[in-house]
Structures are given as structure tokens and as C-alpha cells.
Symmetry: C2
Subunit: 624 residues, 2 copies
């Protein structure tokens, strides 16, 4: 017999037919009524069991969240609370769920507790509702854009440039962290250079010169030891460096003194007269060995057997003064990494989205983005999903229109299509607020709030307006804001909340922010006064969740953009293609980013962002 899903039975029940249903037991009351849920919808289907007809052992195993299949007749319900029910004729146990061992219980569990049990939490009313709605919002995103002729772009997750500077990033690498490949350092370069020069001198010398060189090497380099150099008086060093014979080498020796105190140079037996080949070969060996030693770590490469004369010397290479040690990652040789360069997890697909918009006209992205910020808050995730439309020929006002229409569409879609899940979440908040003080409760219920947002125009103000309103506010005058309110300073969460929740009591779009604290790609407004330059940026602020959208018109003028790139110290070469977009067939264009989880939070009324994503990633959290 073919299984029927519970949503199909509830939506168009065919009374009197035999059905086979499968799902998880939500409750088993009085050894008689099983509430079965198969995830297909919020509601359970009640199954009536005549316990005398079934094996007792089987019935004992029908417990909270055990998985069963029931065959029986669908009848009109005899009891209250449901319209139809199934009279169980056959019950099959698919998966036991021992109440003694199962970490979930059929009673109120905190969201914090359930977060630790993320492999089972989606079986609860709250989380199944949240994740059905999350799905539906995601689908509505695609439907909205597809219906309007936008093209979905998959921008790269692994980013080859860190130009956007939207925050701390995760490195993506296949480098062996223990033995990372290192760039040729100054020390390596210097040594290469030094030995090459000596080799050249040796090769170009006749026997007489060779002896001179040998004598020089003995006197200056070979004879040097760490102790001698450390103890040398300045006059002695000068004498050493001013040795008249081989001026080229002298300069190099000067560097020796500055950069390293090289006992390494006591190669071979200094009493022996070197032959050309002999000396050259030894030099090559020493250089190679020194490189290996750098590459593989100090302890690893030292081989007494190979170079008995180097016995105690390698350990003594060390910096003295100016030599910048291996203390920064700039010494790593990323050309040896998987992508031949340093790569990170993307913080935004915007820059690549612009490429597509300047070809396909209207595009959007919907993908994961990342921040390696150590913020352990209910509002932040290290991995979250973002939606970023980008539209050619749109200015900042088109952009705001799109954003407002878009989020209203999403909310409306859920109100229309997921009433049961939403009603449960609405009721959940009401119950939770019963024990709260009046001032902590929501001004309206979840569903009322959603309806309110779609029915009313968002308030649109400039940043300058916002500052004025805040400076005239009670909390400002009474000194209740923690952060200063002053033209030129960014708005803080407390300011945004005041504007949205106290002053306008609805979503607010703030635009035209000071250029100083906004990203380099935002278009500088034409009509701003010097010293008070603004950019065509806009943020949409929502009650409870704060900033849900941030967007801007993009700087399309090549020279203006280049200037800002330089001013912010962003390496131009990382943005060559972004700059070229302004040189070849560019045009005004705009876009914004919507934090998907924030939107899910707003629609579901869930307060911690970790409860609206299936398997949250945050500082110290990467389970499942």
C-alpha cells in the first residue's frame, strides 16, 4: 500500500478510505490516541488504537518520537480538536525511541537545551515550524526575483581577494601549517646574492687573485665567529669592512654585520687552500643547506654526518638588528597554496554580483557568507546566508523601492502560505510574554506586527535627519544614550532602536550616510558640502532585529572610485577587474544585502539567531 502524507490527508480527507501513514509519535495518550506527525505540515494526525487488538510489547514501544507506520481507515473524528482520524488496524514500529535514553522529553525544553540536541530539535513544534518557514522564505526569495526577471548568480565562496574589508575572514588553505612554505626571505636573498658574488669573483680570478680572495675570506668571513663579532669594537669592524681588495664583497659583508652574525661562514677547514671548484661546491652546499633548514624547521635538517664542519654553526644564525623575523604571515609563500594565492571565505558576493549585473541587467545572489569575528551574541553567526540583488541602471531610490517591495513580499508570502506554523509561533510568544513585565512585551503580536509592516510605507529619512531627530529626543537630552550622537559618527543599535521602536514605530530607511565610515564602493553624492560628504548608502532598520538590509548605489565613476580605493589603502591590483568594470561599458547601478537569518528571525519571532539556522557556526561552535 502506498503511503499518504499527513498534509494531503488533512487538506483533502477521503473519509472511509484505507490509508498508510508514517511518522513520529508526538504523543500517545491513554494508551489509545497517537498524535502522529510526519513533518509535511504543522498539524498531527490522530490515530485511534484499540489496545486490546495489539501486542502489549509493541504498544510499550510507541513512545515520544518513536517512528511508526499505521494502516487504518480514515474516519470523521469522534472527538474534539480534529476533523478526521485514523482507526489503526496495523501498526509497524520503524524506529524505537527509548524514553530513558532519548535526550528530548515531551515537556517544555529550553531553546538553549535543544540547541545542543540539534539532531533532534527539528522534531519539536517550535523548530519544525521555524524550519518550514525558513524554507518558505527562501523559496519566496527565488520566486520573487525569478518572477521579476532577475537572474540568480552563484558568486564564489572561496574569495581570492580581501578587498572588501567587511571584517575578519577565515582562511581557506591546504598548506601544511606545521611546515608552511616560506617566501625567499631577505636572508635567503642576501645569502644567494652573497655567494653568487663570491662565486663570480672566484670564477673570474686567476691563481693570484684566488689566493687573495682566500686570504680575504679567511680574514673576514671564515675567521668570524659569533663571539668575535659580538665582541668586536667598532674600529675593528670598520677595518674589516673597509678591506681594500674586493669592494663588491665588502658591501655584502657590511650587510652580514647588519643582518646576521654568521658563524655559518666558517665553512670547511679554514687552514686549507681552496680550489675553485671545491670552494664553489662548498658554497652551494652551504646555501642549499641553509635554505632547507629554513624550510623545514631548525631541528629537522641538521645533519652532522653530511657536514661535520658545520656542527655547531647552524644554530647560531639569528637576527641582530634590523632583520624582520618570521613574525608575520607575509613571509608565507602562498604561491604554494591550493589556489596559488591567499584565499578566504567570502564576506559578500556583491563585487562579483556587479560583474553579472553589468551584463545580465538584474541579478541576485543567495548564498553563504562568513565573518570570523569573535562575537558571541544572539545576533551574530560566523556563517550565515545573504541575499544580494544588484541592478544595472538603478539609483539609490530604485534600490530602496526594490528593497521595501521585496521584504514585504516575503512577509506576505508567509502570512498567505504558512498560517498554521505562524499561528503556533505567535501563540508561543504570547505564552512566553505572560510572565514578562508590560514594557518588555511586544507592542503587538507577531502576526499583527507582520501585517503592520506590509500595510505601511517604510519611513524614509536621511542620516542627517536621523541625527537631528536623535538630538531632539528625550533619551539624548537626558543623557541616556551610551554612544554620542553627532554628525559624522555612525548610528549605534541604541539609536536605531529609538528611531524604529520609539520615534517612527515602523521600519525606517536611512540614507545618505557620511562617506567617512562607509565602504569604498558606495557612490559619493553629487550635492554634498566639502567636509560633509555623503554617499548614496541606505540601511533598512526593523523593530527587534535592527539592520536587516544595507545597500548603496555603487560608485560608477572610475576616477572617483580609484581615488577612494587608494585613500583606503586597498591594494589596487586585487581589484583590477572591479575597476575595469568602470572603464568598459559601466553605468549607474545599485544593490543591497539582506541578512537571511535576520529576516527569518523577524518573521518567526525567534530571538536567538542560532535557533533559525539548522546547524549554527559561531565562536567555539561547529558541532554537527
Amino acid at each position: 500500500m502506498k503511503r499518504t502524507e499527513i498534509t494531503d490527508i488533512l487538506q483533502s480527507p477521503q473519509i472511509g478510505t484505507q490509508v498508510l501513514i508514517k511518522g513520529w509519535v508526538r504523543a500517545f495518550r491513554s494508551n489509545r490516541f497517537i498524535s502522529l506527525n510526519d513533518g509535511s505540515c504543522f498539524n498531527n494526525l490522530q490515530c485511534v488504537v484499540d489496545f486490546e487488538k495489539f501486542d502489549e510489547e509493541l504498544l510499550k514501544k510507541i513512545s515520544f518520537h518513536s517512528c511508526i507506520a499505521i494502516t487504518g481507515q480514515l474516519i470523521e473524528s469522534q472527538g474534539a480538536g480534529q476533523t478526521v482520524e485514523v482507526v489503526a488496524e496495523k501498526i509497524e514500529l520503524l524506529g524505537e525511541c527509548s524514553p530513558e535514553e532519548y535526550p528530548l522529553q515531551p515537556k517544555r525544553m529550553t531553546l538553549e537545551y535543544l540547541r545542543e540536541k540539534a539532531h533532534f530539535r527539528m522534531r519539536t513544534n517550535t523548530f519544525s515550524a521555524v524550519f518550514r518557514i525558513r524554507h518558505a522564505i527562501a523559496f519566496a526569495v527565488h520566486k520573487y526575483f525569478n518572477d521579476k526577471g532577475y537572474y540568480y548568480m552563484h558568486t564564489p565562496i572561496i574569495a581570492g581577494s580581501d578587498a572588501e574589508g567587511a571584517g575578519e575572514m577565515f582562511r581557506v588553505t591546504t598548506i601544511d601549517i606545521i611546515n608552511p612554505p616560506l617566501k625567499n626571505t631577505k636572508l635567503d636573498e642576501w645569502a644567494d646574492n652573497f655567494y653568487q658574488e663570491i662565486e663570480k669573483a672566484i670564477n673570474n680570478s686567476d691563481q693570484l687573485h684566488l689566493r687573495k680572495i682566500n686570504s680575504f675570506l679567511k680574514k673576514t668571513i671564515e675567521g668570524l665567529t659569533l663571539e668575535k663579532l659580538v665582541k668586536a669594537r667598532p674600529s675593528e669592524i670598520k677595518e674589516l669592512l673597509d678591506h681594500p681588495d674586493i669592494s663588491k664583497i665588502n658591501n655584502l659583508v657590511r650587510e652580514v654585520y647588519v643582518i646576521v652574525r654568521p658563524k655559518i661562514f666558517t665553512i670547511g677547514n679554514s687552514n686549507k687552500t681552496f680550489l675553485k671548484d671545491n670552494l664553489s661546491q662548498k658554497l652551494r652546499q652551504v646555501v642549499q643547506l641553509k635554505k632547507d633548514y629554513r624550510r623545514f624547521g631548525l631541528w629537522y635538517q641538521y645533519k652532522e654526518k653530511l657536514f661535520p664542519s658545520l656542527k655547531l654553526t647552524f644554530y647560531n644564525i639569528r637576527p641582530v638588528n634590523n632583520y624582520n623575523q618570521l613574525s608575520s604571515e607575509s613571509e608565507l609563500d602562498f604561491s604554494k597554496d591550493f589556489f596559488g594565492k591567499s584565499t578566504n571565505l567570502t564576506v559578500s558576493g556583491q563585487l562579483q554580483g556587479e560583474i553579472a549585473a553589468l551584463a545580465l541587467g538584474k541579478i541576485y545572489t543567495f548564498g553563504p557568507t562568513f565573518r570570523a569575528e569573535n562575537s558571541n551574541t544572539p545576533r551574530h553567526l560566523a556563517e550565515f546566508w545573504m541575499i544580494e540583488p544588484e541592478v544595472a541602471f538603478f539609483d539609490i531610490f530604485d534600490n530602496m523601492d526594490l528593497a521595501e517591495d521585496f521584504v514585504k513580499y516575503l512577509i506576505n508570502y508567509i502570512l498567505d502560505n504558512y498560517p498554521d506554523d505562524l499561528a503556533f509561533l505567535d501563540e508561543r510568544i504570547k505564552q512566553a510574554e505572560k510572565n514578562m513585565k508590560q514594557e518588555l512585551r511586544r507592542p503587538m503580536s507577531l502576526i499583527e506586527m507582520l501585517r503592520f509592516v506590509i500595510k505601511n510605507d517604510f519611513e524614509r529619512i536621511t542620516y542627517t535627519d536621523a541625527v537631528r531627530i536623535l538630538q531632539n529626543s528625550k533619551p539624548y537630552k537626558k543623557g541616556r544614550f551610551e554612544f554620542p550622537v553627532e554628525w559624522g559618527k555612525d548610528l549605534q543599535a541604541e539609536h536605531e532602536r529609538y528611531l524604529v521602536e520609539k520615534h517612527f514605530k515602523k521600519p525606517v530607511v536611512v540614507r545618505d550616510y557620511p562617506k567617512a565610515f562607509k565602504a569604498f564602493y558606495m557612490r559619493e553624492n553629487d550635492d554634498t558640502e566639502p567636509g560633509k560628504e555623503t554617499v548614496a548608502a541606505m540601511d533598512i532598520l526593523f523593530p527587534f532585529i535592527g539592520e536587516v538590509i544595507g545597500g548603496s548605489q555603487r560608485e560608477e565613476r572610475h576616477s572617483v572610485l580609484l581615488e577612494r580605493v587608494k585613500a583606503q589603502g586597498i591594494p589596487e591590483e586585487e581589484l583590477w577587474w572591479y575597476l575595469e568594470l568602470r572603464k568598459f561599458g559601466g553605468c549607474p547601478h545599485s544593490g543591497f544585502g539582506l541578512g537571511f537569518e535576520r529576516m527569518v528571525q523577524f518573521i518567526t519571532g525567534i530571538s536567538n539567531i542560532r535557533d533559525v539556522i539548522a546547524f549554527p557556526r559561531a565562536t567555539g561552535t561547529a558541532e554537527f
Copy 2:
């Protein structure tokens, strides 16, 4: 005036109205006909320019891919090739595109060349068609599943476990690669232990014992130098180690000899009589310094000023025999990394998808997945998108039905909705094949092939059938297969191609593979003979692109799964939650993965996978 998109004009032209259109110039013929494309659809809109009415300088700048806005009247076209055209009354140049500098030219360019210019390639006919269709396939994926009641899951990109073992992975980290945090190594532990024991001995000693200890330390440890140890004869070492006074320390000293030759232990002035506190303090300093030195790298921490007596000693710490060097990443302390553990980019969302399916019933994922494999082929990407449905109560046959229905739906959706783009790609292949040998050409055109696939049932065979067919094949008998065909060995691309392209001439679903080379989570079939165990796995093989889907029924039996996990040496603790899914309310379930880019390749007929993703990531490639 409000801009109209070209697709709207072409779909329902309102002859006689004024329109404002914006887009990129695809061609400007005879100084009179501009073909304008705005990305909204495949077709261009022709604009007619009376060049006498416009500034010559402006007209000069209307070049290939320059961006312009045109206002004019929409009329029925006078010429052939289009039904409507716009008589330009006003032209505005939005973005120049100097033909001298622009890297694209209005002539045939190779896909390889355009790949290097990915920031402009979407403006070409081929790539704009590909990326519109890519969008449409993605939308069709969501529509298919949403309409059927599947819930979209975002499974994590940053994976905390590497249990799946689907290939090489990218590390995600915020660790400082130059100075990575290290676990307490054996050396650290040993030193801690050693000094603690000495401290204890000192603290527990009376003055007499203290002198004894001092004398012992002087004789054994303090007096030791690298040279002495290196030169010591076995009998001398034995004598040293057998010192009768302090047996505990003796054992430790034995380790000294095995593990390190510690000039480090010549702390302080060995002629001085130590006082308790003095000695303890020095020991602590030395231990701390040694740890720091390990942590920060050899050259970094050595500070003569702090410890003049340690001057030459630190450099001499090094392993002698058994001490396992810092040669593996297991020495890294990942508890100091962002997530408190080692993390990677996900290779599949399946395992987490199963969590959701066992709660919500029917789910699918659609997200980026990663392989750090060094395969520089036209079939592989390091970052690609995958679709993974997972369904509770589905067996392998339900799974195959779903997969076949799903891919047919995708193909049908594109045939129905993107005929213009598809026709162009179809023609493109025909043109390209004109110069090819008959046997290299496709057996049918792109569109014919797509229609063929949706009209015919996929062939369904078992792996055992496949082996038999291959062993009876001409290429096998003539020894033309490179790889062996033998029950128990995996099918290679050449075998798959034979089955699909030669034998069945249509998509083939192969199921019931030998357990030996398949993943641990695939359900072992009930009816297989010992030594010839198979699993309920299935692959769907397509012409041209090979394996496009791989799936299986999942092992739902806890004990069987656990056994396989152990047999494959997968750390159980990484899979605790996956195993628990089988303990609590589990049930039979199945799922599969569809490589999204492979599907886009099949539908667009594009042969290199790097040309169906906007910004490909592969070995050495992470530009844009």
C-alpha cells in the same frame, strides 16, 4: 521617463509608443543600426540612428559593449530579422568602452580566452545564454521541490567533522600559520615533569639532602654539555644514570639522554650553591622560556638580556633519537582555532540532511561543496554546487524514481521556458561540429538530445548486470578498455561511457554496487551472498557528462552502521549524532546528490565545467 526592459518590448510591443531603453551595444552597423542588449533576454533590440541628427563625437563612442540609453519611438521593423525597432531620438552614453583597450572584440573569441576575462564574458551571446539557463535550472530545482512539499535546508559550509571522507578537504582556520598554537608536546610534558620532580625533591629535602641534590645536579645535569654527551662512552652514560642517590631523577635523566641533549640544563652558575627558592625560581624561568621558545619559533624569543647565562644554550635543544618531531599537524592545538576544533569546507550536506529528513520528512539541500583535489580537468571544480534531496521512508527504488523524475523536470523546464537561449547554444554546437570528423559529432543535436532524454525511461540495471554487459562487449573482448572489468572493481569512465553511449544509448541507472568500494552510510542489501555483499547505492550516468547523480538508501540499522564505521576506521566520536539518529526514531530513508554544474553542462552543451560557473575555483585558479 521610465526605462522599459527589452524583453518586455519584444514580448508585447506597443507600436507607436515612446520608449527608453538602456543596455550594451552588441553591434553598430553602417553607422545606422545599433543592436542593443540589456541582459533581460537573449534577443537584441534594433535601434535605428539617423547619423546626421547626432553629434559625431557621440556616435564614435558607440562601440562594442559600450553602455547607452536610447529614447525613441517603437515602430514595426522595416528590415528583416526583427519585428520591431526603435527610432533613436535621444542617445545618452552611460559608459564608454574603448575598442583599443577593451579586451573583448566583436568577433569569435575562444571560451578559454573569455575565461580569463570573466568580468566581461557574460556580455557575450554564449555566456549570457549559459548563465540565464543556469539561473533557470536553479529556479526549477527550487520550484520542483517546493511544489512537492520538500523543505530546503541550508546545511553547514564549515564542517566540524571529516567523517564522510569524500576526498581532500580545504582547511578553514583563523590560526596564525607562522606561529601556530601547539599542543603540549612530549618534550614539554617531559620538561614540566622533570622540573616538577626536581622541585619536589628540593622542597622535601633538608639541608643535607639539598647539598646531595646540588652535587648530583652538578655532576649529572648541570655538568653535562652537548659535547660531553655526544662524546660520552656507553659505560660513562650508564654510570651517570645509575647514580645511587636519587632514583626518581635518575629515570628522568635517562629520558634526557634519549630525548634531548640538554645544554639547557646548565642553568645559572654551576659553581654557586643553590638555595631552595633560588633554584626553584630559575627552574621555572627556564621551563617557561623553553615553552615560549617552542611557541613563538626559535629565533624570536631568545633574549640575552633576560638570561645571559643561557646565551648559547637554547640553540642546542634538539632531538636525538626517538623523539617524534613537529612533523604532523596532530601537534597543532586546534582548541585555539576559531571553532575550538579543526574545521574544513564541507564535501556534502548529506549527513546533516538526514537529520532534517528524520524530522521534516522530505528535504533537499542546494549549496556549495568543495574538493581540494588537484585535478585540473574540464570535469572538476574545487568549488561547485550540489543538490541533495533526502527522504524519510524512501527506499532505493523510490529514490531512483525521484531522481529520474527530477532531472527530466529540469530539462523540460528549460525547453519550455528558454527556447531562444537554447536555440542559440544548439546552433553554436552545430557550427562547431561542422569541422569535426563524423565520429566526434554528437549523435543528435543538443535540443534533440534533451527531448530524447525526457521522452524515454532511463535504463535501470544492477552493477552485476553492468559487469556482464561490459564483459560481453566488443571493446572488452578486443582488449580496448584501459581498466579491468571484473566484479568487485569500480566502473571507470570508459565503462560508463560504453554503457550509456554505445550499449543503451540513453541515461542509465546502475544500482547495487559492491559494498567494498562504497561509502560507509550506504545500506547493505539483505539478499547478497557472502563475499559478494552489495549496498543499495545507485548512480545515474548521462551521455557526455558521465555520472550526474549518485545516491543510496542509507543504512538505518544502528549495529550494522556502527560496524561499518569501525571497519572503515572512522572516528566514532565525530559521528555521535549520526549514529544516534539510528537509535532514536530512525527509519529507512534515501537520498542522492546531483552535481549542479554537470547538469548545466548537459543542458547547455558546454564542454568545460569552468564555463558554466561564473567564477570558477580550481587548482591555481581563484581570480575574481
